[in-house]
């Protein structure tokens, strides 16, 4: 069974641009969470979606948004990119609304 998959693996953008990151959860998992991991720090919670509804939001500006589709895949969107948005963006999934046990490999975003 495939694990959590994320695309793209790497991305380079310039300041002010927009980016969309994608996540496919493990089959049967209905909850998806997004985390930002800046180099040298632990992951920070951005969003959780369960059954296509936002169930939690971390301390991130409104430039960050997300959605979950009927097939439970998810997108994370970031507008007006800043240099400080450079990070590894992690997606995690779980079967029910519980803490995630399965993380994807992440998308490495570099903003120049």
């Amino acid at each position: 069974d495939a694990g959590v998959t994320q695309s793209p693996t790497h991305l380079i953008k310039t300041r002010g641009q927009h980016v969309t990151l994608r996540c496919s959860p493990i089959s049967g998992h209905k909850s998806v969470s997004w985390y930002q991991q800046v180099l040298g720090q632990g992951p920070q919670f951005i969003f959780q979606y369960y059954e296509k509804e936002e169930r939690g939001r971390g301390n991130f500006p409104d430039r960050f948004s997300a959605r979950q589709f009927p097939n439970y895949s998810s997108e994370l969107n970031v507008n007006a990119l800043l240099l400080g948005d450079s990070a590894l963006y992690l997606c995690a999934s779980s079967y029910i609304r519980e803490s995630p046990s399965d993380f994807g490999p992440g998308t490495r975003l570099t903003v120049t």
């Binding site: 632990g42 992951p43 919670f45 959780q48 369960y50 939690g56 971390g58 992690l90 992440g106």
Partner: protein, 114 residues
Amino acid sequence: AQSVSQHNHHVILSEAASLELGCNYSYGGTVNLFWYVQYPGQHLQLLLKYFSGDPLVKGIKGFEAEFIKSKFSFNLRKPSVQWSDTAEYFCAVISNFGNEKLTFGTGTRLTIIP
């Protein structure tokens, strides 16, 4: 707000040495506690978790952790480390009611010398 402290930023051990990584959290209510591992070039994996019951939790690859409520601690232990345990280790906490947000510590980099 909940927070997690991992005071050991980088730990260097020889193979077969015993390991203990510290984790303290701050939250007054019921918590669920986790240890994740990130091997070089790989994604985060769950090592073990504590929800309730026996405060001594056994995880994968010979790791265990003990929840001490009075000390707000959840230290990770392994009696004999191997070179393959070289990785970044993250402690995380989630409060039990209505908030599914995992709060991670800053991580401990573990280097095992053969």
